[in-house]
């Protein structure tokens, strides 16, 4: 019995370590490629020993800034995603609160409508939305990349279910003391709902930070384009220099990676919460 246990343990570690390599090697390739002279990246792509660059150089990083407006892409991405996340938290939590706690005419109908809209992914409306924003004259702006994504049915639903399960006593007491809903929300409900705010912030961040299809459709100037579109365009910009592309990739993912490692627990809980509500 004990012997079998040890064997199972070793097997588990072996499988997990093998899988870990599958997940690590592509990332390591990117990092190591970003430190190699451009002409060596492709020829050495198949040699595991070459994952350690023989003569590391930072030249690729300099080239990125010389060839494309990297800093601009970065600022755009941060601004667009940051605005969507912060406005989204406010707008969707207020709606979730109204749906779960306030007593009003139309509540049931609105709730049903919101739940129905959850199944519409961006892809199902991208084409008509593209037409709509063309009519508004919004193409190639920040506005077009931000405003349509602030209100989100799934976020409203996550807030709604969370607030439903919050104990009502605190709010009742404040209500009896005559506090208005807006005050109750900001001073009592929101401070006690960090998990759901974190989950919604992270899920929104994950989808918006990688957004590619929509900016591809609605933007045509580097001045408003975000990072994911930036790297795809950089890849098609001749001459094809793998070192530069990977330097772009490293710089693009580094801030995100740091946020992830710092708030890992929240990321995992946020993602797990989507499954619980399904």
């Amino acid at each position: 019995m004990r012997c079998g246990n040890v064997f199972a343990r070793v097997a588990a570690y072996l499988i997990l370590s093998g899988m870990a390599l599958v997940f690590l090697i592509p990332v390591a390739m990117m990092v190591s490629g970003s430190l190699k002279p451009d002409h060596l990246v492709l020829p050495e792509a198949g040699r595991l020993v070459k994952l350690l660059p023989t003569e590391p150089t930072l030249e690729n990083y300099r080239d990125v800034f010389a060839r494309v407006p990297f800093a601009r892409y970065m600022v755009n991405s941060i601004f667009i995603t940051g605005t969507i996340v912060s406005c989204g938290l406010l707008v969707n939590s207020l709606a979730g609160y109204a749906l779960s706690r306030l007593h009003w005419r139309g509540r049931k109908a609105v709730l049903t409508g919101v739940i129905a809209l959850i199944i519409l992914p961006l892809e199902a409306i991208a084409v008509p939305l593209f037409y709509e924003v063309t009519l508004f004259g919004w193409r190639n702006t920040y506005l077009v990349q931000i405003v349509p994504f602030i209100a989100n049915a799934f976020s409203v639903y996550l807030f709604y279910t969370f607030f439903l399960e919050l104990p009502e006593e605190l709010e009742e007491a404040a209500r009896i003391d005559g506090a208005r809903p807006i005050r109750i929300f900001f001073s009592i409900v929101a401070p006690n709902s960090q998990p759901v705010f974190a989950a919604v912030a992270i899920l929104t961040f994950l989808t918006q930070w990688g957004s590619f299809l929509w900016p591809l459709m609605v933007t045509h100037s580097e001045s408003v384009r975000p990072l994911p579109l930036g790297i795809a365009l950089f890849y098609t910009l001749p001459p094809l220099q793998w070192g530069d592309i990977f330097a772009f990739g490293v710089m693009m993912v580094l801030p995100m990676l740091m946020v992830f490692l710092l708030f890992q627990r929240w990321f995992v809980q946020g993602v797990a919460s989507t499954g619980m509500k399904g």
Binding site: A12, I15, L16, M19, A20, P26, V27, V41, L42, E44, A45, G46, L90, L94, A95, S100, R101, L102, H103, W104, G113, L120, E123, A124, I125, A126, V127, P128, L129, F130, Y131, E132, T134, V147, F149, A151, A153, V156, L164, L206, W209, G210, F212, L213, M217, P228, I231, Y235, I245, G249, M252, V253, M256, L261, V268, V271, A272, T274, G275, G278
Partner: protein
């Protein structure tokens, strides 16, 4: 769904209470509702409407109702049919493999062993990589010739017998290559959802089963699997829908080629609307896409609903 109010004994008070917050509540809900109406509901209705017209951006022709003509056209279009087929094949490859892999990893990580958090972090990391970056990295892995990462790995494994392939330009291998890329990026997401479900199973259940003399395997079949049923159907649904949303990888890695071998419904819709300004045609494809997503969702609800009814 809980009713938000505590009932009093007076029907008049109840009636008043039920509507006491009406103005405030509308103010609270309005920004989100306005956004959803303008940017989700309206475009969706617009898609339905446009799909029955001949609208082209910048066309001098007047807007005309053409009935089902757009639908007739797209279903007669070989590229669109190929796209539907590709999405289906892609789903049939991604869904079982990714779900099984996510479940396997979740079960392994759920063991009370040291260092499991490190593995969880590692497997989840690609989820935070934008798909466009992942696509670019994997282009190098699939690079043609003996220097490409995968080619040289396969040559090493087969002691040189492997003939180097140009994966992304091979009509038979391009879609599987995109499949591998997508699984690599996405499996961590599903794994975390399943892991959370595993960890929410009360330990007492296993304890009781052990006391009753149930073996590991019996415990798995009678405790673990039933507890995973709903999260698993959810994960399968989400992965299937994701498979039909496939776009970024195709746009970056193959541009739908070679010869439509990797084109998808979204790739065709975007190209129709955006590339050739045929908004009505793109809208019709969008409606087809939505119908697929809706059908999948209803099927999943049915399965989950049955589960709830029987348990």
């Amino acid at each position: 769904m809980a009713t938000p109010s505590k009932r009093t004994n007076s029907p008049v008070l109840d009636g008043l209470r039920r509507e006491q917050d009406t103005p405030t509540a509308w103010i609270f809900a309005l920004p989100a509702l306005a956004g959803l109406i303008f940017f989700v509901l309206a475009p969706f209705l617009l898609a339905l409407f446009l799909s029955f017209t001949n609208l082209r951006l910048g066309s001098p022709l007047p807007l005309e109702f053409t009935g089902l003509r757009q639908y007739a056209r797209i279903f007669a279009d070989a590229a669109f049919l190929r796209a539907l087929q590709n999405n289906t094949v892609f789903a049939l490859m991604v869904v079982p493999v990714q779900t099984a892999l996510a479940l396997g990893l979740a079960l392994l990580i759920n063991q009370p062993l040291r260092g499991m958090v490190v593995f969880r972090t590692l497997f989840f990391t690609p989820v935070i990589f934008p798909l466009s970056l992942v696509s670019v990295i994997w282009i190098l892995i699939f690079a043609p010739g003996p220097d490409g990462t995968l080619n040289s790995l396969l040559q090493w494994l087969t002691l040189g017998a492997w003939e180097p392939r140009d994966f992304l330009h091979d009509p038979r291998l391009a879609l599987p290559a995109i499949t591998v890329t997508s699984i690599w990026q996405g499996v961590g997401f599903q794994m975390v959802i399943l892991l959370a479900a595993l960890q929410s199973i009360p330990a007492e259940l296993y304890e009781a089963a052990r006391v009753d003399g149930a073996r590991k395997r019996q415990q798995f079949v009678h405790i673990t699997l039933p507890a995973l049923k709903n999260p698993l159907t959810f994960v399968i649904l989400v992965t299937t829908i994701l498979a039909f949303r496939l776009f970024d990888q195709v746009q970056i890695m193959t541009r739908g080629g070679p010869n439509h071998a990797t084109t998808t419904v979204m790739y065709e819709a975007v190209n129709a609307a955006f590339g050739s300004q045929q908004v009505a045609r793109g809208a019709a494809m969008t409606v087809v896409f939505f119908t697929i997503v809706l059908t999948l969702t209803l099927v999943q609800r049915r399965i989950a609903g049955q589960e709830r009814a029987t348990s």
